[in-house]
């Protein structure tokens, strides 16, 4: 099975085309000549084996080719046939090698010895670890019902097994990384179009990017297609961001918008488009529901009003609206991804969706694309029913539109701390790091402290692992076999990938599937894990007979399914079966059926709004300690506007103390005009508690320690840009 993903390509077309192939060899003829000192001659090709895999340094899963020499990965290269990533591998993808061979990797099961978070561990054998995990799970289930155990998994090809385990174990309480990330955007678009669209940036002419930073927070193929379209198709990019991101730096126009006011900008765009009748009336009447209500609603949001609120000049708003409409339907407001920003983020994102609805760009080139058919099937199973369980998730009804499979981490934590409506005393966490990513770290620590038993499966001693009772070493993506995954790369492709080991597992690491299978066996749930990965993949691929061979040959299988016009013979998954400009379900639920602008809370005197994000060289807490990437981002710094710094008496590079109502941190200031005067910014992922991350000890400050734990009122997604902080010079 290891040989299945061997790459069979030897030379690329490039070399044949340009005659470079000859160059590699022709030097050989010279060696016998008179002047070898002036010509290098032939260099032998490396003695490597090439194997396909898919990257796991972020969620994108870019196709890669691992070069393996004597059982060691020496280089990771992009798979040129992998269209979703446009045949590229970014800095993180290339640095995957440093993750696999990270000396800080967990090497064997560890059992907590001292107090929680004290860092005293005892190495134990796997048998003992599995027995203990199973026994504790059984105890908790007996005492508190299966729902007394929480399961949390990050974005990973094996995370589905954590969900499966939770379900057969009997717990409804599963949270994912999503409620600290993209749920608000998902909500906004879902409740307009009935599904979450892909952006056809490659064929677009005009893009407004707000609350997204595509040239740093890379999404494939969007980040690449955006640049290609800008350079080759004359796409115009307008960026709204309180920070001068690299996306802003490369955009045609950048407006340092007042944080939290994106909605009124969008409402004003709609005001202009509707007022000046710049939309396709026939299409809107045919495909959408509620244009009248929307027209009425946006009357109040004049560009002048919006300008006062968001800081973008009224004439620019009007001009942008006209330009956007002129290029419609090849224009869009980019949906974005992480939207865990404000308490009304679902509505903010719905305002993005509404502009797109008005532009009539749905299901069309250069607009928003519906999900294409990939053809991968689910693997059904029939979990048992536990009558002793409570009715619902612990966070049920804490927000009106939670997602069943994701819940809300912030609201779950709140309920766990209260012990209401029922106690949760066990926690199983795989490959996600709420201690670093979830706002208000103090509460996460309290949540940990009130648990009877916490099991963490991860590759390094993350802060979350640091707080656990039992830490189990998992395998990196290059060591394990994963189920197939269906991916859509916007307009680029709908494809299936798989992962096979490219090297033997290091240390005593095990894939989470094996761990769960073993625990299930001890809990008499073995029948639900009575399969192996190849068998599982066969079931996933049962409708795609050619996929396996294609993946072995090219590292990826493409489904040549329809790209545009998918909705020609399809209904929208909404109440009206149309694009809901006016959301009827929201009306029934007592929510605003159209996004109503409420000004963001005023920033108190001598405080700043804290916003967070990242660059293209790390993926939050999971890669900060990566030796190669650490060189590029050794710590996080606090971006501070020069005017603000002057008032505070802070000089560039000085250490400052940042405090919020929930915590504090020390961090170096970066005095820069690349941030608004009323806002400060820092990267996520730094300032760890764990002593197991050797490169980033005492590096920067933790966003989790500083951020307050507000949440999006509709989706329960964390609201991470609602925190005000004070910044003071640190007195030495």
């Amino acid at each position: 099975m290891q040989n299945q993903n061997k790459v069979k390509l030897s030379r690329r077309d490039f070399f044949k085309a340009s005659g470079l192939a000859a160059a590699g060899i022709s030097g050989g003829g010279l060696l016998g000549g008179l002047t070898p000192a002036r010509a290098k001659g032939a260099t032998p090709p490396p003695m490597w084996e090439s194997r396909y895999s898919a990257c796991d340094m972020c969620f994108n899963k870019c196709g890669l080719i691992a070069r393996v020499e004597k059982g060691v990965v020496t280089k990771l290269d992009p798979n040129p046939k992998f269209l979703k990533s446009r045949g590229m591998l970014c800095a993180r993808g290339n640095a995957g090698i440093a993750q696999v061979y990270d000396p800080d990797r967990l090497k064997h099961p560890l059992l907590r010895k001292g107090a929680r978070g004290e860092g005293k561990w005892q190495r134990i054998p796997w048998d003992e670890a599995i027995d203990m995990a199973a026994q504790k799970m059984q105890e908790i289930r007996k005492k508190h019902s299966p729902c007394g155990h929480l399961f949390t998994a990050g974005a990973d090809l094996q995370s589905q097994f954590v969900g499966r385990f939770a379900e057969v174990y009997g717990s409804y309480n599963v949270t994912s990384h999503e409620s600290l990330c993209l749920l608000s955007g998902t909500r906004g678009f879902l409740d307009t179009f009935g599904e979450v669209p892909f952006a056809d940036l490659l064929n677009s002419k005009y893009v407004i990017m707000a609350g997204a930073n595509r040239f740093e927070a890379l999404v494939t193929p969007d980040s690449i297609d955006l640049m290609t379209a800008m350079r080759e198709n004359g796409l115009k990019l307008v960026v709204l961001d309180p920070r001068y991101t690299k996306t802003a730096a490369l955009a045609h126009e950048w407006y340092p918008i007042r944080p939290g006011t994106d909605m009124i900008f969008m409402l004003a765009l709609m005001h202009v488009i509707i007022d000046e009748k710049l939309f396709d009336r026939q299409w809107i009447e045919e495909k959408t529901y509620g244009i009248e209500q929307l027209s009425e609603h946006v009357k109040q949001y004049t560009p002048q009003y919006a300008a006062q609120e968001c800081g973008v000049p009224a004439e620019d708003i009007a001009r942008i609206a006209r330009e956007l409409a002129a290029d419609a339907p090849r224009s869009m407001v980019y949906p974005g991804r992480r939207s865990s920003d404000y308490e009304n983020s679902s509505q903010i994102r719905r305002s993005f969706a509404l502009v797109n609805g008005l532009l009539g760009n749905w299901d069309k080139p250069g607009g928003l694309l519906a999900a294409r058919a990939v053809g991968l099937k689910g693997v059904p199973y029939d979990p048992p029913w536990y009558d002793e369980n409570p009715d619902d998730r612990i966070d049920a009804h804490a927000a009106p539109a939670l997602f069943e499979h994701d819940g809300s981490f912030v609201l779950t934590r709140e309920a766990v701390l209260k012990g209401e409506p029922y106690p949760i005393k066990g926690w199983f966490i795989y490959k996600t790091n709420p201690m670093v990513n979830a706002p208000n770290r103090k509460k996460t620590i309290q949540m940990m402290e009130q648990m009877d038993f916490v099991t963490v499966v991860d590759i390094t001693m993350s802060d979350t692992a640091w707080m656990a009772d039992l830490v189990l070493p998992s395998q990196s993506y290059l060591e394990r076999q994963d189920p197939c995954s269906g991916l859509q790369g916007s307009v680029a492709c709908a494809c299936v990938i798989k992962r096979d080991p490219v090297i033997d597992p290091l240390y005593e690491s095990r894939p989470v599937f094996n761990i769960l299978k073993d625990i299930a066996g001890k809990l008499e749930l073995g029948e639900y894990f009575d399969f192996n990965i190849p068998g599982y993949r066969k079931q996933q691929l049962r409708d795609l007979p050619d996929a396996e061979a294609a993946m072995d040959r090219d590292g990826v299988y493409y489904n040549p399914s329809k790209v545009y016009g998918i909705y020609e013979d399809r209904i929208y998954k909404t109440t009206s079966h149309k694009i809901e400009l006016y959301n009827q379900r929201y009306e029934q639920m007592g929510l605003d059926p159209l996004p109503v602008y409420t000004p963001p809370q005023k920033i108190p005197e001598s405080r700043f709004r804290l916003v967070v994000g990242r660059n293209a060289y790390f993926t939050h807490g999971s890669t900060c300690n990566n030796a190669l990437l650490h060189e590029l981002t050794p710590e996080n710094v606090l971006w501070l506007n020069p005017d603000a710094a002057k008032i505070l008496g802070v000089r560039d590079g000085e250490t400052v103390e940042v405090s919020s109502s929930v915590g504090r941190g020390e961090i170096k200031a970066k005095v820069t005009e690349a941030i608004r005067k009323d806002t400060v910014f820092m990267y996520t992922g730094f300032g760890p508690l764990s002593k197991g991350l050797s490169l980033i000890q005492n590096s920067g400050a933790s966003i989790a320690a500083l951020l307050e734990d507000q949440h999006d009122a509709i989706s329960g997604n964390a609201a991470m840009h609602e925190t005000f902080v004070t910044v003071t010079r640190k007195v030495a």
Partner: protein, 253 residues
């Protein structure tokens, strides 16, 4: 057949500063911590431009110049311009790590590798090319801002790019030291003011300056020997120094 000149043609407007090229190169060439064979430079944004504030990112590396000052600074010829490929190579086996070439590069493309303690820089990944692959930085670049090939081959992608952009090709050159670089930027690029004049270390300059003197001394010495040899043959036995004649000579005076 015309000789090759491998070169990079860069559309730096496409660069998003993702540093994929930097890490890819570091892994491919085992570049030690703290060093890099290539780079992405950034222009300084003028925030007074308001909404039109821009930053230009500029990928770069060794420019494999036609008149490389690093080669001129190398005493052993360990670094040389390959006659066949036009690549400025370093023969590690011959490099003694004297460091002369490092300040001699106007682009800071060279460094003393801390692992091998010798000069290091971009060599367009010969092993990868031998395997039919592109240099690591080019292969991995998301937006394909870096394009690699032989500019002496009119059918190559780089040549086509150069001819398509005739009149819009920029070379980054230092005002004091024009090394005739083979790194071509298309359209516009920035920054362009980051080069430094090539500095040949004093030790090398001294060696170059005393070299004729040394040759002169050796030459004089050689002339002296020739003169003595000439006298030996011309003056013949009268000046012979065989012992018996010595006595004679002494008596003469």
């Amino acid at each position: 057949m015309a000789k090759q000149q491998f070169a990079m043609v860069i559309d730096s407007s496409k660069c998003i500063d993702c540093k994929g090229c930097v890490i890819s190169c570091k892994v491919a060439n085992k570049v030690p911590e703290g060093f890099s064979r290539n780079w992405i430079k950034a222009s300084v944004p003028a925030f007074s431009m308001g909404p039109r504030t821009r930053t230009h990112f500029q990928p770069g590396a060794c420019m494999h110049c036609d008149t490389p000052t690093c080669v001129q600074a190398c005493p052993t010829g360990a670094t040389y311009k390959d006659a066949e490929t036009g690549i400025v190579e370093i023969d590690n086996s011959l490099c003694i790590g004297c460091g002369n070439c490092i300040p001699a590069c106007p682009y800071g493309a060279r460094f003393r590798n801390t692992a091998i303690r010798k000069a290091d820089k971009c060599d367009y990944c010969p092993e990868r090319r031998a395997a039919g692959l592109l240099p690591a930085c080019v292969d991995t670049c998301p937006t394909k801002a870096r394009v690699f090939g032989d500019i002496n081959n009119p059918d190559s992608e780089v040549s086509r790019m150069l001819s398509r952009n005739k009149g819009k090709v920029i070379k980054i050159v230092n005002a004091q030291t024009d090394t005739k670089p083979n790194m071509y930027y298309i359209g516009e690029t920035a920054p362009t003011d980051w080069t430094t004049a090539a500095v040949v270390p004093a030790s090398m300059t001294v060696m170059k300056e005393v070299s004729p003197l040394i040759k002169g001394i050796v030459g004089l010495s050689g002339l002296g020997v020739l003169a003595m040899l000439g006298r030996q043959f011309l003056a013949g036995s009268s000046d012979s120094h065989e012992p018996e004649h010595h006595d004679e000579e002494a008596r003469h005076d």
